[in-house]
């Protein structure tokens, strides 16, 4: 299930003035990609979809795969001395394979076009015909630092497609894994911002805290990135009574560690000055382009899948939703800081209420078509949706919309009229992954 086919073109939705509500971000994004696709050749021709084009539901997810190599609203700029500066795909500043074309006349960014597709590993097509457990090994390696979110969403979709109830414990283990990984990723963003601001002492300490989160994952799930731990036959999550006590104590210490670290960051004027007003995105722009996750919440919209699509165990936990209003890199960081706190809080609640995890199996979400299900989770960078169809218990087709897919155009808009020296602050604050788009 890839690439917008001609029958699914919804070109009109992204025209200037047409407001796309944030929760319909998938449609906004599809419209955008359709526009961009005009005149561009896809990297590879999409395999035929087994579904009629009109399969829709309340949770409708467009079936597309952004093979197009540019993901940004185009606003061609010409003028005296304007040139294109290609940044990437090999650079240490962005340690992933991807490129940015920067239109500039020297310092100010007039237009920024992210170029994706360099590391397209053709993963989705390769899932067809595998059992969900085997496909899961590839899904978690689609974006390694978001593995827990990807695998949880994929498995939820597959379970919904199969109509198979999930053991309650599995649902809880997935939630613990996701929250641990969310803390890691948010702290990692803090470390990268500190690096961009040359806050070397802060960088070292944030980097150390991120490493501690990886070690927590390693000790609890047998894998620093939790690969395999949420799949049958993989490393078994160690969450017995004594493990839970130890984990709770470690998390307690790390949460205090985080607070004292953030207090010092907060007091650093040079650091705060660098990210304040950097890469600003207005609420209108965020909703128009279909922003998700901390990027959306930093503009004042209180959308969090953990609250809007409550599944076990989130339906039973207290989760304060993090919202900021300024829409700049600082606001996005403040949202992440609050989310680190709320994730520690969620973990504490889950560990306290663990006996409930041993209760009755959880019903899967209702299927959205014959043998076809949707799985939707809040990944560290935002709303992540998997759309999985099964045939005879094996994967027949997979579609997905990642947070990065949704946020590329928002990043491009946020970079307009910024100076290029601000690039890294803006880039890190969005938490975008080329790996999530190049699949």
């Amino acid at each position: 299930m890839t690439a917008p086919s001609s029958g699914r073109t919804v070109r009109g939705a992204a025209r200037p003035g047409a407001r796309v509500p944030a929760y319909w971000a998938p449609d906004g994004a599809v419209a955008l990609w359709n526009d961009l696709a005009a005149g561009r050749s896809a990297v590879e021709s999409p395999p035929a979809s087994p579904f009629p084009e009109d399969v829709r539901s309340a949770w409708a997810v467009p079936r597309f795969d952004p093979r197009e190599r540019a993901v940004a609203p185009r606003q061609p700029v010409e003028g005296y001395g304007v040139f294109t500066f290609p940044y990437g795909p090999v650079s240490m500043g962005v340690p992933e394979a991807g490129r940015f074309d920067v239109r500039t006349y020297g310092e100010r960014v007039l237009e920024l076009v992210p170029r994706v597709g360099y590391k397209s590993r053709r993963i989705l097509a390769s899932l067809v015909g595998l059992t969900p457990a085997d496909a899961g090994l590839r899904v978690e390696r689609l974006a390694g630092n978001f593995a827990a979110a990807h695998v949880s969403a994929f498995l939820a979709a597959a379970e919904s497609a199969a109509g198979r109830a999930v053991p309650s414990r599995d649902a809880w283990v997935r939630a613990v894994a996701q929250e641990v990984q969310r803390i890691y990723n948010h702290v990692h963003v803090l470390a990268r911002l500190a690096e961009a601001a040359s806050q070397n002492v802060g960088l070292a300490q944030a980097h150390a805290l991120a490493e501690e989160m990886l070690r927590v994952a390693g000790a609890t799930f047998g894998h620093r990135w939790m690969f395999g731990a949420l799949l049958p036959g993989g490393p078994v999550a160690r969450l017995g009574p004594s493990d839970r006590d130890r984990l709770a104590r470690t998390l307690d210490r790390l949460s205090e560690e985080f607070e004292s670290l953030w207090e010092v960051f907060q007091g650093s004027r040079t650091f705060v000055d660098r990210i304040q007003t950097t890469g600003p995105v207005g609420r209108d722009e965020a909703e128009h382009w279909g922003a998700v996750g901390p990027t959306l919440r930093a503009t004042g919209a209180a959308w969090d899948d953990r609250l809007r699509v409550p599944v076990v165990p989130y339906d039973d936990l207290f989760l304060p939703v993090a919202v900021e209003s300024a829409g700049d890199a600082l606001a996005r960081l403040l949202v992440r800081v609050q989310e680190v706190r709320s994730s520690f809080l969620l973990l504490e609640q889950m560990l306290q209420r663990w006996p409930r995890a041993e209760e009755a199996p959880v019903d899967p979400a209702p299927p959205v078509g014959p043998h076809r299900g949707i799985g939707r989770v809040e990944s560290p960078s935002g709303d992540l949706v998997y759309d999985v169809a099964l045939r005879d218990g094996r994967v027949a087709a997979v579609g997905l919309r990642t947070a990065s897919d949704a946020n590329w155009p928002v990043f491009a808009v946020g970079m307009r009229s910024q100076v290029f020296t601000d690039f890294h602050f803006a880039w890190e604050s969005f938490g975008l992954l080329f790996a999530e788009t190049d699949r």
Binding site: V43, E44, P89, V90, S91, M92, G93, P95, E96, A97, G117, Y118, K119, S120, R121, R122, I123, A125, S126, D134, L137, R138, R141, L142, A143, G144, N145, A147, H188, V201, G202, A204, Q205, H207, A208, A210, E211, L214, R215, G218, A219, G222, H223, R224, W225, F227, G228, L231, G233, G234, P235, S260, L261, E263, V264, G267, L433, A435, D438
Partner: protein, 248 residues
């Protein structure tokens, strides 16, 4: 500033003793280590079928293909092998009988000397390998104490650390980065992806491994390899790694 220093003082020294001491459990959790048969391979009849990447053969285990998914535990394997599992040639990662094979010692890249500058190139990774390489800079591993420095340009690099399975689109960029490096230079394939294609081996449009693109000097198995294993591979390249089976 005093607050920063106060915090640092209160935390004390975090840095690992590796490579002076062997890797600790928290540095290399279960899946950070290669799978080893608990009985002779030919007694584990059902083993080959249980491996999703075909790493387990009837007479040998190809660590370069292994993605450390731990499924072979049911067939009598345990992920308990040495962290120092990297090899100079692809064949050194194929362990006869499931044990590290004996290899003939040969001169490493001695001309590189005792300190190296490394440059990271992603040719199609899932980002976990990138982050494990970057983790070498954190206070727990502090690669600078061993004379390993990250550089921002391939023109200043001695060692190219390549992560990910080479996609068609990245063949030219990685080759150009390699060409830009001054000699003597070395290439390290970090992880199962550049070593064998890993879990993505056989996907359309992917090169079967990095050695189809560049001359590779060292292969590091693992998916991803833990930072200590990457550290060891860089040190082994300049003759400073921990002693390992089969190498002088």
């Amino acid at each position: 500033m005093s607050t920063w220093l106060g915090r640092a003082w209160a935390r004390g020294i975090l840095t690992t003793r590796y490579p002076a001491a062997p890797a600790a459990d928290d540095e290399a959790p279960e899946t950070g280590r290669p799978p080893m048969p608990t009985r002779p391979l030919d007694e584990l009849a059902e083993a080959p079928g249980s491996c999703p990447t075909g790493a387990i053969g009837p007479a040998a285990v190809d660590q370069g293909k292994c993605i450390r998914c731990a499924r072979c535990r049911a067939a009598g394997f345990a992920l308990t092998g040495p962290v120092e599992a990297s090899g100079r040639r692809r064949s050194e990662l194929v362990w006869p009988g499931g044990r590290p094979g004996a290899t003939v010692p040969e001169a490493g890249l001695a001309p590189l000397g005792r300190s190296v500058h490394v440059f990271l190139v992603d040719v199609g990774s899932c980002n976990a390998c990138n982050l494990e390489v970057l983790a070498l800079a954190n206070p727990y591993y502090d690669a600078t104490r061993l004379g390993i420095f990250f550089t921002n340009s391939p023109r200043h690099a001695d060692v190219l650390l390549v992560v990910g399975v080479p996609t068609e689109e990245m063949v030219e960029p990685v080759w150009r980065a390699y060409e830009a490096m001054p000699a003597p230079k070395a290439v390290v394939a970090v992880g199962a992806c550049p070593t064998s294609g890993g879990v993505f081996a056989g996907n359309a449009g992917l090169r079967p491994g990095l050695d189809a693109v560049l001359p590779v000097d060292r292969y590091v198995p693992g998916c991803p390899p833990p930072p200590v294993a990457i550290l060891d591979a860089i040190l082994a390249l300049i003759g400073r790694g921990r002693p390992r089976a089969g190498e002088a």
